[in-house]
């Protein structure tokens, strides 16, 4: 079968099949089909395809026409057409539902963020236990102060619950809040003794600077 070069004719075969051409064009296409085996075969194939696909379910035209007339009589518009089984939600309905859902999600996230910002988990109360020093001749001989959590508290006799109590660093025994005023006289005495026994305490203050001025005002 020779290849057809008249694409414009081939393109009109479905129109010829469905009688959608004016008389002149139909005659022209028909003449081409009569002389072109490929187009004749394609037209036959389209005819067969149309027959195979054409069966349509029967519909009650009168019922449909009555429904149209009834909807007009009721002044119906798209929102209140005659119900046909279960009316499907319109596109607008679905969009509105999605927007409401999105708004609820955003509101929930906002509230959650706000509550998270407001909620500051309080540190578990720190138990400060002060015990008498066991020895005083060590360079680290400072009053032993231990920080323990409530669950591990076993020195009940000297335990003080203190939300406002000074927080201690157990490793160094440094006071972060309050001061030596919280110590008893005995503890202060022991502390001073310990400090006296320390050596190589670095100077806290920088060495004073001194300048000598030359006669001409320059520094040496």
């Amino acid at each position: 079968m020779t290849e057809c070069t008249r694409d414009d004719m081939r393109d009109r075969l479905p129109d010829l099949l469905n009688e959608r051409l004016d008389a002149a064009t139909r005659a022209e296409v028909a003449r081409h089909v009569a002389s072109c085996a490929e187009c004749a075969a394609e037209l036959e194939l389209l005819r067969s395809m149309r027959s195979a696909l054409a069966p349509a379910p029967r519909v009650d035209v009168r019922r449909i026409a009555a429904a149209v007339a009834a909807s007009r009589g009721a002044g119906a518009r798209e929102a209140d057409v005659i119900p046909l089984g279960v009316r499907q939600p319109s596109r607008f309905d679905r969009r509105l539902a999605w927007r409401i859902a999105a708004g609820l999600v955003v509101a929930a996230l906002g509230l959650g963020t706000w509550f998270a910002a407001q909620y500051k988990p309080s540190d578990p109360p720190v138990t400060v236990a002060k015990t008498p020093p066991q020895h005083t001749d060590s360079a680290t001989a400072v009053p032993q102060v231990a920080s323990t959590r409530p669950a591990a508290t076993s020195h009940s006799s000297t335990t003080t619950q203190a939300p406002a109590a000074p927080r201690m660093l157990a490793s160094r025994g440094l006071v972060m809040d309050g001061g030596v005023t919280d110590l008893s006289d005995g503890d202060v005495h022991l502390l001073l003794q310990s400090l006296d026994s320390l050596t190589a305490i670095p100077d806290a203050d920088p060495a004073p600077l001194s300048y000598q001025l030359d006669d001409d005002g320059g520094a040496r």
Binding site: R20, M49, A52, L53, A54, I64, V68, L84
Partner: protein, 183 residues
């Protein structure tokens, strides 16, 4: 095809629309008679099986309800097919996974089975339906509208929301695929 077509003696769609707007209820009936069967075939071809008539009726009711806004820029037929296509798609989305929506071939098979004429089903027709099954959904829609409804590429483009050139490409690709399948 058996559906009525306007003849020289019958008013065209625009004239019937004008008559309906002026209160002539008979005009609506004539329009329904003219377009209901092609619409039903198209709806069935999209996979709607059980509610073809409901979809067709819904299409007409919606179309006539908004006919005041119809400016005639496209043919009434194209407009009706577009509404029907959207309705079928909305229904398919709303009941995704349901067995009510089946392919065109399954619908034909079910119809034939219901009509008890499966025993005499034409083998050639069955092969052609199988060939259509191999097409993509877009190719199938374009091919069906072009071959069974005789729509122009411009009308098809309006119905399936594509361009005229793309519709032409889809049609020729579909036809080539069908030929290859049948060879």
């Amino acid at each position: 095809m058996t559906e009525p077509k306007p003849t020289a003696d019958e008013p065209d769609d625009d004239a019937l629309i004008a008559r309906w707007r002026s209160g002539d209820e008979r005009a609506a009936t004539l329009l329904v008679e003219r377009h209901a069967t092609p619409l039903a075939r198209f709806v069935a071809g999209l996979g709607e099986r059980r509610e073809v008539e409901e979809v067709v009726q819904d299409t007409f009711v919606r179309a006539f309800a908004s006919l005041d806004g119809f400016r005639g820029e496209s043919a009434l037929r194209t407009w009706l097919f577009t509404i029907a296509r959207n309705l079928v798609r909305d229904r398919a989305r709303s009941r995704k996974g349901s067995r009510d929506v089946v392919s065109i071939e399954d619908w034909h098979a079910a119809t034939e089975h219901d009509a008890l004429d499966a025993a005499v089903a034409d083998e050639t027709n069955a092969r052609m339906r199988t060939a259509v099954r191999t097409l993509t959904p877009m190719q199938r829609e374009v091919f069906t509208l072009r071959v069974t409804e005789g729509m122009s590429y411009k009308e098809i483009a309006a119905v399936v929301s594509t361009t005229e050139g793309a519709a032409r490409v889809h049609y020729h690709n579909a036809l080539r695929a069908i030929k290859e399948f049948l060879e």
